[in-house]
């Protein structure tokens, strides 16, 4: 099992959700986050006062999937979240040791 964490542009969330849904992913966790990568921030000007906004708002998507599905999910996120400009985000993939469905106590593959 893999835990896929994708940081994407906020407005790309719906497209990503649809694409991974089509692949059969049954659960997604979404968080609004702020951070910076190569995009850095941007400058805002209020009545001549300039503020550098260092942390850019992004959306973090977390998906736990079976190993067999992982590559296709990564591919789907990469394709749908891409604009080609700096700031499209990143995908982190880690091995997942255990999954528990709280309601039934099911474990691992059957809990996904």
């Amino acid at each position: 099992m893999k835990l896929i964490t994708a940081i994407v542009r906020t407005h790309k969330l719906d497209e990503v959700r649809e694409a991974v849904g089509d692949l059969g992913v049954s659960g997604v966790t979404v968080t609004e986050v702020r951070g910076f990568g190569r995009q850095r921030g941007h400058t805002e000007v209020y009545r001549g006062a300039e503020y550098v906004v260092e942390f850019v708002p992004k959306t973090k998507i977390e998906i736990a999937v079976a190993d067999t599905l992982a590559e296709r999910v990564i591919e789907a996120i990469s394709t749908t979240a891409r604009t080609g400009k700096v700031g499209d985000g990143k995908i982190f993939v880690v091995d997942l040791e255990q999954v528990v469905r709280i309601r039934t106590g099911e474990r691992d593959a059957s809990a996904l």
Partner: protein, 471 residues
């Protein structure tokens, strides 16, 4: 604030006047007992028959009072509230709201009398303390209740009027002027946002309202005031309201010093939607302010309304294009600020100028106030947090001086404008306003202190002063 000082303030507000709740019987009315309708005086408040009141004028002035009150709560409160950081939004709204309440009582106790009754050229009299003598007695019921008293019989079916508005009841005139007395100190709040103690703010506003606002209103508006006598033109308060509040704002910015973390930490406005709603309410309310200052529902009010709209649009676009050119983007805060600058600048001119000069006044205000709020502030280094000085003092001065250039004799009954005379009014207000405001602030600073502690400031005034927060 100590318990002692709090109770002193309460006593100041609640001090009973011996005559305040007895039947009001002004000395001036005793002569008016003949059957012919009394002619209202043009030099002091007088008493006329109820039937002499003009219902059209009165209806418009009742509406104007409500419009101008709306400028402060919620207009100005939202305008400023959106520009501060989220941790200070309630404290900022609270300032406007509390000033509205505080000044209302002070106006009833003393402010109205000092501003709008005859006295010396520098300050009005005390004849209207606690609204003494401001009367209205309905014909039939009052006659039945009080027919045995000759002094009351003399005023049955009569109403007092101010000499500044002889076709409307004095109550309406006094309440209309109250809303100006409210918004003027509330405008100052922009300079000390996010760092002033609430108790110090209440003391400052109470004292300022009595010893700065009331005299300057008397100078410029009461016919016996030295400014009015000298021919200083201030139709709706460019000098009395905007230069006055703006220069007091500069005194506050200098006396309080900069906010902790200025130019190091982000201090961007937390919600410009509130600011735009506030600016829009100010704009709408300003028709009560300017067109209402005709104190009549007449052609002059109509002209004041037209030039107000035109100058505001011109100033908003001027600010927007300046910003677009210099800072690359036309910002929402910019166009809203430009609109307020235009409203400020057309205020003294509104009953005196035609639409074409209004366009010029608007453009001048938009450009000059933009430079004041962006470059001048940066160059001089004071922390006028929300640009109360940059917009109101500078915009008010632009308007006051250009009123001298463009005032049309056709609109104001033959009185031509003069830049030199206008300059006298502006300078007197700047000097008196700055010196007295700064002195009040210094006295408060050594007694109860002006600023919150650095810890309270960092935590935010909402929680540290008011024990509340949004969300």
């Amino acid at each position: 604030m100590t318990t002692l000082s709090r109770s002193l303030l309460f006593v100041l507000l609640a001090l009973p006047a011996p005559l305040a709740w007895a039947d009001p019987l002004p000395a001036a009315v005793s002569a008016a007992a003949s059957t012919a309708p009394p002619a209202p005086s043009t030099t002091e408040p007088s008493v006329i028959l109820n039937s002499q009141i003009n219902s059209g004028d009165t209806a418009w002035m009742l509406a104007s009072m409500a419009l101008v009150l709306m400028m402060t709560v919620p207009g100005l409160a939202l305008f400023y509230g959106g520009m501060v950081r989220k941790k200070n939004v309630l404290a900022t709204l609270m300032q406007s709201f509390a000033i509205t309440c505080l000044v209302t009582l002070l106006w009833y106790v003393i402010g109205y009398s000092l501003a709008f009754t005859p006295g010396t050229p520098y300050i009005g009299g005390v004849s209207r303390l606690f609204r003494n003598g401001v009367i209205y007695i309905k014909d039939v019921a009052a006659a039945a209740a009080t027919k045995d008293t000759p002094a009351v019989a003399a005023v049955i079916g009569k109403v007092s009027v101010s000499h500044l508005g002889v076709t409307i009841p004095e109550t309406v005139y006094a309440m209309f002027q109250l809303t100006f007395a409210i918004i003027t100190p509330a405008l100052i709040c922009g300079a000390f946002a996010e760092r002033m103690k609430f108790s110090a703010m209440l003391w400052f506003m109470a004292i300022w309202s009595i010893i700065v606002y009331a005299p300057i209103a008397h100078w410029m508006w009461e016919p016996g005031g030295w400014g009015a006598t000298a021919g200083v033109l201030d139709f709706a308060g460019g000098t009395v309201v905007h230069i006055n509040s703006g220069i007091a704002a500069l005194a506050c910015a200098l006396a309080l010093g900069k906010r902790v973390g200025l130019n190091k930490e982000p201090m961007a406005p937390h919600n410009l939607v509130l600011t735009v709603i506030g600016a829009s309410l100010l704009w709408v309310g300003w028709f009560g302010f300017n067109a209402g200052s005709a104190v009549a529902a007449d052609g002059r009010a109509g002209m004041a309304m037209a030039v107000t709209q035109i100058a505001t649009a011109a100033a908003a676009l001027a600010w927007m294009f300046m910003e677009w050119t210099i800072k690359r983007k036309p910002s929402v805060l910019g166009i809203a600020s430009g609109a307020v600058a235009g409203l400020v600048a057309i205020t003294p001119a509104s009953g005196f100028v035609m639409p074409t000069p209004a366009v010029i006044i608007g453009i001048a205000a938009g450009v000059i106030c933009f430079l004041a709020a962006t470059s001048l502030k940066k160059a001089l280094g004071y922390d006028d947090s929300l640009d109360a000085f940059g917009v109101h003092c500078i915009g008010g001065t632009v308007g006051a001086l250009l009123t001298g250039v463009f005032a049309s004799a056709a609109l104001d009954g033959g009185q031509a404008g003069s830049v030199v005379t206008q300059l006298k009014g502006v300078l007197a207000t700047l000097v008196y306003g700055f010196v007295v405001s700064y002195l009040i602030l210094k006295v408060i600073d050594v007694t109860i202190g002006l600023r919150v502690t650095e810890e309270e400031e960092r935590e935010g005034l909402d929680v540290s002063l008011h024990g509340e927060h949004v969300e």
